[in-house]
Subunit: 390 residues, 2 copies
Amino acid sequence: MSEQSVDNVATESQPQSIGIVTPQSQHFDQPLVLASGRVLSEYDVVYETYGELNADKSNAILICHALSGHHHAAGFHQGDKKPGWWDHYIGPGKPIDSQRFFIVSMNNLGGCHGSTGPTSINPETGKAWQSDFPHMRCRDWVNSQRNLMKLLGIDQWAAVIGGSLGGMQAMRWALEYPDELRHCIVIASATKLTAQNIAFNEVARQAISSDPDFHDGFYIDHNVIPKRGLRLARMVGHITYLSEDGMGQKFGRELKAGSFMLGSDDDVEFQVESYLRYQGDMFSEVFDANTYILMTKALDYFDLAREYGDDAIAAFSHAKCSFFVVSFTSDWRFSTQRSREIVDALVAANKPVSYAEIEADFGHDAFLIPNKRYENVFHAYMQRVAEGCQ
Amino acid sequence: MSEQSVDNVATESQPQSIGIVTPQSQHFDQPLVLASGRVLSEYDVVYETYGELNADKSNAILICHALSGHHHAAGFHQGDKKPGWWDHYIGPGKPIDSQRFFIVSMNNLGGCHGSTGPTSINPETGKAWQSDFPHMRCRDWVNSQRNLMKLLGIDQWAAVIGGSLGGMQAMRWALEYPDELRHCIVIASATKLTAQNIAFNEVARQAISSDPDFHDGFYIDHNVIPKRGLRLARMVGHITYLSEDGMGQKFGRELKAGSFMLGSDDDVEFQVESYLRYQGDMFSEVFDANTYILMTKALDYFDLAREYGDDAIAAFSHAKCSFFVVSFTSDWRFSTQRSREIVDALVAANKPVSYAEIEADFGHDAFLIPNKRYENVFHAYMQRVAEGCQ
């Protein structure tokens, strides 16, 4: 769902990096019919690739990103000090091995990192789309990812991989285009959100939309951005993507100022407060508010089995690929229970599935963070994926 | 922490009610020296009493309220359809039996329900205090509660009882005035907040203080109220006081509109969203933003053992009363683990303590909600309290 906590833990030395990567952009002038019935008459997507496509094009991997993610999953952009959001798991010798696989990572439509989205120009009006940009569903992303896939000459993914909202896209791939992927890797995800999860997303949206600078989403027209709202939205997200224990370990009850003077709390703050404010400030500088709303709505409305009579077993019966499901013990927004529901439905649908429940701190963000067992099982499963590439 | 969810479940028929109650007000013109070093030169407190003080004044009970609570704990105000926030547990034949006990419930200083607080007039300026109102700590509330106690002619409470922030006051009573209470009843509380709890409070405060109508807390001077911020603060609170399962049971993923039309989500909403918006709107009409900030700060800074070398055992060694500690399995803001820490420290300090961990949905709000086992153990313990009243 976010790459926010990659810097939360001391990163192990990573001698093997993809190195410098350069995003590519692709224009599509074939209309894309969306789940909402609306049509994007033309659009651009920005993406990165790592590794080389093999001769029979059997080693292609699609990475699907989460709420605040983007195409820059691994390696470094020129001049950057921090690598892409999943660099620990993508690269030479890493679980998603760029020496074995051709890895494609695309910024989702509706995003704010280069693919067509609310900040892009609507060709019909010549002005930025802003909140007129169509709502997106996971299947829309799947379809646009598939258009890029065709353009790259790929007929079948070795694997589609995603965490959180990315895992929802991976599952949607397995149901929509069952012949076009061999493996589906679903990490810290769910077949649908819980009421609590929807509620947290709603608070985030309300924080943004009640910011006087939001202007019903047409803030670009007013030359402002709803920074206060976006900052609050991120603060809520940040707390909920971490675990209680993780926060306790990281911050405890430490005060920002050196000493605690009872009652003189005008200037002193707990470390956790200043950290949250800082994270919120940073995010509100770089992320688009309409994109945040769009992504959370896609999360809320995702319901894998809705059109299959609310029966996840019936839904998964359409899949033809193998599944690998991963969850993390301290993740309370996409709890292990949600992953077990996926696994149970897959087993009942008689589909091949491997499942790993990883002991981990740091809650939902655990899927982005170094963790030995997670690395090992991920490696092992990707070995199986590689063996299917001729 | 809140009385928000009293209406969450079908309330059982309650034939025995205290009936109509009338709040009382008391002016104090003796200065109150606060933990911050500041002084309230004079102040008013509003309170209610239920039942009769017995001849030797041994049957008095103090109820301490939580974040958004107030003095109106039980019975009905003239014309009200809903009773006080803890009516299920206070009244004739109820655990805190008004036929046996003389029950005192006071609005805390800094509140917004009648006791002196940010909306009151500062006698030195002739204007509302607003954010100039002094910060409050639990010990300040204990001291002002004690002044009322003396005025009522009570030398020793049979019990001091509180949930959440109220439980913190009850524990503070046990350490500050060990000879002046026989029982301390601590429900869904903690010796200090976790980093996650502080973080949620910080988001609430930031929501309020970043509302353009906040004006550094001097919104009364500007004839506005920071409604948007207070609404968001309440929404965050509301989610976190409920449990994930409780929300799931109450709302599931039901849509507000009758039918779901994929992609036409402009007008449809999940039930949980409209419920949260409604709750937030209601709260923002009636609660004072400066009080909300003041109460959350008191929560954050409470640390029972700080002045005892961070040793809860050393802290509790000063107590002379018996303790009854209650926690609820689905409460994740004041988890059972926090209550077990209290119990463990009390046992290590060789203090008499009874502990009940109650299986309950509805998270932190469970302490306000009908629950058979909770009622039974509460009844049983209060029987013991009553036996100590001559």
